[in-house]
Amino acid sequence: MIDAVVAFFLLGIIAQLLGAKIPFPDGLYKTLSLFLMVAIGLKGGIALQQHVDPALLTMSIAVVAFGLLLPLVAYPLLRYFGQLDKINAGAIAAHYGSVSVATYAVAVALLEAGNIAYEAYFPLFVVLLEMPAILVGLVLAKGNLKVINRAFIKKELVANQSILLMVGSLVIGFVGGDSVQKLTPFFVELFSGVLALFLLKMGLVAGEQLGTLKKNSLFLISFAILMPMLGGLAGTGLGVLLELSAGGIALMAVLGASASYIAVPAAMKESLPEANAGMSITASLGITFPFNVLLGVPFFIALGQYLGA
């Protein structure tokens, strides 16, 4: 039986493929994504109040290493099988090394619906995985380290919207004490409803992206389905190595399987303007995101439960 939240994503795809004009203002979409980032951070912060793991530093280093490794797996596939140039291969590899907050949110919603426990500090891992892949992708595309200068780090790391919102909310949730509880009716209890609305919009966008699949589509479809499977299995392995709970293993797999379509495209637009942005977005949003939401996430949750039991 398909989850009700995920069903809204399917509804969006069907509506777009049928040509139904569902009005969805851009402002609302941005508000919903902002809500999700704050809610994820806040929930993590509140949960951290009860339990701080001393092994968090070691885990964070492992997660950053994981983020550096994923684009290095994607890049040779793109270069050898896709015969893409360095610029486009580097840009797409960066998308697949980074994470999708929406896919993570879907996984969290499914875990909570199934009463499966997961580690509270996962929002921190989401933040940690945003950046390393961008750096690796840029270095692979340019072939040198000169692109990573002070201005780039300031813009992409310190002033990055999603990093700032999630880390900020996590800290507020952690240090806010009892006062944070008054925010929970809005940010915690409405989470699934907001996510359903957000997924409806994502379904509309994914349906639109599917229509743009033309040139190089067989390779792109294959890559965009294979890569989340590889990343997800690698994430599962990391989750087992870090001795995470069943939900934690599933979330680590989902982080490995997901591909960014918000933070990385923005960074690539600035740093690699010559890259074909349409190809990366079609792959990450039009193919990988639907694959993960409909098949990948439920599979990795089942795998996490099996391995974590």
């Binding site: 896709g82 015969q83 890559f223 098949l295 089942a302 439960q305």
Partner: protein, 70 residues
């Protein structure tokens, strides 16, 4: 169409079939993975046929043009 361009779709199909097996072992539905594998496989075959047609079309044209010239 080269070996390189067909290799990744075939690897993806095999991986999807492996996932479908794992999924059924885990007691989870495997239909989605199988359907996706079949779709990619069919798409690969269609692309292969299209590409071989495109390769052979100019040769046929040139031979018919030769006949006309004779």
């Amino acid at each position: 169409m080269t070996f390189k361009s067909l290799a990744l779709p075939l690897i993806t199909c095999l991986s999807l079939l492996a996932f479908s097996y794992l999924s059924s072992v885990l007691g989870h539905g495997s239909t989605g993975f199988i359907l996706l594998a079949l779709s990619i496989f069919s798409f690969s075959i269609v692309s292969l046929i299209q590409s071989s047609r495109e390769t052979h079309t100019p040769m046929r044209t040139s031979s018919s043009q030769l006949k006309e010239a004779k």
